[in-house]
Symmetry: C2
Subunit: 335 residues, 2 copies
């Protein structure tokens, strides 16, 4: 296939990001992190400025038939706050660009902004600007600005061989909730799972505590799925890992419903996205501190794996002890 | 009409922005400017952080048939740089969210980024992050971060009664260029006008000089049209103005082509948007400084009006002396 005939489908989302990184490389010394990371980091002296952006497009990221404008408003902001949480930062300000159909009822817009406002208040984040446009589909783009203390910020690239790998909360609920929302035959939809998809809670307090107390060595939020996001840490840290399938924290509702949509009981928890839980690594010396933090914040923090040398790649230890060497799985927008 | 049945079309873009401002009011002392301004301003001590965002949507803001990806890349960044220029600030970093169709040729994307890169280099701006997504239409959202010295930043609200009103460059060329692009019957399209629409030049150096030398009292970039953007200054400064129609700076090409698309020779220059020239007010004592700046930068700076007390509203003095009191004209996305 000649280069000129290639489409985005051929190179995929991660291929595109690699190309953009290559095309647009920056050399400013104060730019600590840029393209390819979820959050850009700019050194401002004692503080660092954290910047992240996410776009949500109707019928790609959500459907009007199974969301409501209030929760859409909350989630639009929540997914950006989660990126700042994953560095241990404090979200501060945001700008929102919004594209809206001409005949959209004003009530939709006002409920959307009510959700946005409630989420902003909850995390003490302020709307400072934006842009509005007509659009055939609803488009929401948020750019969130946060800050962090320079010595405390957590990146994806700090994982060390021998570190434990932890996940917060339970995994797979959001992806399972999405399958349930999309299941037109299912009348009574289990609220707990649906809510985890529609109304995720960014783990700001947990992220800040892990950073401030210097417990974690690397961190990311689980937006692309456990395997994909583990891979992000491994690539940036130049390490490998093993994951213990039967240690993956699952909710009671997940255990009840997963079998309806997948034969492999852990599949959705392994590759499903949008849980917005935190995935982090920490030295085994920190185990007591991790447990004590889990208790004090009342958030489950579960050891799901261990960091190995890079040459080991990623191994999944299945229930029963069978070991599987994994290729990268997960979601690619363009494929 | 009941409130719940209202649509965005009923309240219009400016009605929506007023509502958002009302819903989302911020009270943080360091937020100097926020919703409703083109640029948000955050007090960081000596420096101020300037943040602006613009969304471009295929078939709303541009059509693939009459743009090329390289110029689209340049313009996407240019329109944001222009917002920072209009405050006298220095553009520094940007994030880009991009929605792309699955079957878009990779060559489109790489040309788009080449344009983006050339514009970024020209103004020494660095890409630091973004988001990519699949989308049925091309969507481009840029969030640009700049900085300025706190005492120098220019706002819309500094115009004083008696100030002169100036415009840079020539007006109406971009809007006329758009009409020409859309005119399917026209084979040979005049490049000068078409280029002004496709490849606007943000007036960064001019904006910085007007701010640093404390020449201007209020400033805005002309993105919504001369009348509309004059109105923005008047509303924020709580003043009125008269505009002299025959002083509006017109290009030779504009004079030749405007009559093909409008009976009133100044109409397109008065209400057409996207020139990205600067509109500013300055005390009559600064006239010599304005002239000298125009010469040194080789940019025409034309006195097009005068600031009056608020109760006078906006008067347009037509060629020949006839005075017209103006309602607000210009472009509203939702109407």
């Amino acid at each position: 296939m000649s280069i000129t005939k290639k489409t985005l489908q051929d190179i995929g989302e991660f291929g595109l990001i690699a190309k953009i990184r290559n095309w647009m490389a920056t050399s400013r010394p104060e730019v600590v992190r840029s393209i390819g990371d979820d959050v850009a980091v700019i050194d401002m002296g004692q503080k660092a400025l954290l910047l992240t952006t996410d776009i949500l497009i109707e019928d790609i990221h959500f459907e009007r038939s199974w969301t409501d404008p209030y929760r859409l408003g909350r989630k639009s902001l929540a997914v950006n706050i989660s990126d700042i949480a994953a560095m241990g930062g404090t979200p501060k300000y945001f700008l929102i660009s919004i594209g809206l159909p001409k005949r959209l009822p004003l009530s939709f817009t006002s409920l959307f902004y009510r959700g946005l406002k409630d989420e902003a208040r909850r995390f003490q984040v302020d709307l400072i600007g934006g842009d509005t446009s007509l659009s055939p589909k609803i488009i929401i783009n948020i750019c969130l600005i946060g800050e962090g203390k320079k010595g405390n910020i957590l990146f994806r690239n700090g994982a060390k061989v021998g570190d434990d790998l932890y996940a917060s909360g339970t995994l797979g609920d959001a992806a399972l909730g999405l399958k349930i929302l999309q299941d037109k035959g299912l009348r009574k939809k289990p609220k707990g799972l649906v809510n985890k998809h529609l109304s995720p809670t960014p783990r700001v307090e947990l992220g800040q505590a892990l950073a401030k107390k210097h417990i974690a060595s690397a961190m990311i939020d689980i937006s692309d799925g456990l395997l994909n996001d583990t891979n992000h840490i491994l690539e940036e840290s130049k390490v490998g890992a093993q994951l213990w399938e039967d240690r993956i924290p699952l909710s009671t509702l997940y255990r009840r419903w997963a079998q309806t949509y997948s034969k492999a009981p852990y599949q959705i928890a392994l590759s499903g996205g949008e849980d917005y839980e935190l995935l982090f690594t920490a030295s085994p010396q920190k185990r007591a501190k991790v447990s004590s933090l889990a208790r004090s914040l009342n958030i489950p923090l579960t050891r799901v794996g261990e960091i190995l040398p890079e040459k080991e790649g990623v191994h999944l230890i299945r229930k029963g002890g069978k070991e599987v060497k994994l290729p990268r799985l997960g979601f690619d927008h363009f494929r």
